[in-house]
Subunit: 315 residues, 2 copies
Amino acid sequence: MSKTCPPLPAMVIKLLGAALLSLGATVQAQAPAAKPARSAADILAQSPASDWRSPDPRDTLLMELQTARGPGQVLIELAPRFAPRHVANIRSLARAGYYDGLAVVRVQDNFVTQWGDPDADKPDKARPLGEAQARLPAEFSIAYKDLPISRLPDVDGWAPVSGFVDGFPVAAQPEADKAWLTHCYGMVGAGRGNAPDSSTGSSLYTVIGHAPRGLDLNITLVGRVIKGMELLASLPRGGGAMGFYVQAEQRSPIQRVRLLADMPDAERPRLQLLRTDSKTWLELLDARRHRSGWFVHSPAHIEVCSAGVPSRPAP
Amino acid sequence: MSKTCPPLPAMVIKLLGAALLSLGATVQAQAPAAKPARSAADILAQSPASDWRSPDPRDTLLMELQTARGPGQVLIELAPRFAPRHVANIRSLARAGYYDGLAVVRVQDNFVTQWGDPDADKPDKARPLGEAQARLPAEFSIAYKDLPISRLPDVDGWAPVSGFVDGFPVAAQPEADKAWLTHCYGMVGAGRGNAPDSSTGSSLYTVIGHAPRGLDLNITLVGRVIKGMELLASLPRGGGAMGFYVQAEQRSPIQRVRLLADMPDAERPRLQLLRTDSKTWLELLDARRHRSGWFVHSPAHIEVCSAGVPSRPAP
């Protein structure tokens, strides 16, 4: 992991779009010269502590994976405001150790990485859900009214409104009083079968490619990967239909999944996320719309899935 | 590679959005029941041979990589209509064996995989470009007038017009008579330094995450990966700034890069691409806008970067 986890400087530059598709080390070293007047790095460096938050330990999962490249950690922030029943179920499953020993079963290029019980559909072999609910209502959308959304002024082709709530990318249709989490890179959803209410949170997926926003309002999104996406996105693609692994040994085992709240305080990863209702966030979005330095053309536009919410190690 | 290359059925389902985020094998097996009335698979199966084309061998590169997971092949179709000078340079570099023995030097999660000469910026160690041009004009856009574009009716936030030309995703500003290749997943560009005209095609990158369309009109796109994206997208992310590898041994070596035209006919990979000016393509796009089966909600929308152009082994 540490080898593949970019340090904060890289994340900051990435926030800039990391547009320095440089020829090599020298130009890479010139990166500072290629940033806007007030760069994303400067905006972040000058941000007040109050613009940052620590994810709630009761809403944050730590998934420990074993991969052919070694062990890795994935942190997932759950979204109880949008999928309360699924989040409650996932908490219950994690506390019961349901996910421990399961595996990544599917990696489809430019689409999703999915994990869960490889035997979920074999009644005789499927792991029991224990005290978790075996049937949940679909949680595809919530009410838009009174939703504290940091709305983007930018045109979005998929929905009349887009923006951020609690750090999550959101789209909405105010006239229908509907809002929903949208399928941006790194978002986590609950796999379902053909019945809209057939997801339980026992099988989860994350988006590893271009946002498949056509899935919005069709499946329950439950959270977002806030650390470790580079691990889930770089697993070998599955050779079967829809990217499922054909041989069991190709699957990456899940060693365990815990809620941070259930871990000894000293063992909890310390991560902070920029508040998407903060002035710093609005300034960062504007820095992405209006480029300078390396850029000769400014898009004067961003989209809800092209702006990653920055994180940093807790000070 | 063969392990991670999805077979055509998987590609077809992927074209559908592969929205069956199923709980496992059984539901996966039910996939046919979850497709629209006339599914993408049916549309493709019933497509006339005349709706398919073979990429021009003079415009198609075969890159052979060595990775920790084994060897792999990447096919890149060049876009001479959009970047004639860069494409000519890349042909010249490939014919001179310039890329042979170079390496993937950078993989930044949700952004790009970049390859070239690790010593490009060390005058004493940089590999000479030979007969290729050391300086080229930037080729960021071309004229829109008379461009044979299959225009999308869907709203695009980044440009007034979007669509497809010669199988490539394109955006345009008709009132400025400008059109350009756009940074969708799998598009290939020529790395540059701070000077807009500092790209030569000696360092190339491909998009491995959500389309960074803010790069459009800032750097020269030269083509598209038509086979092997799952290889370039699943390499370990680099731990240095902007995803550059820190240790040389982390780089994946490029064994060789050849134009198909320079290969014995029998050795050329046989691949066909769906014509983006065909009726079949328009029907596929419509099948993505209007879903059924597994879907309970249809987006009634697509975007230029959410529609992958299908390929198939040549019959």
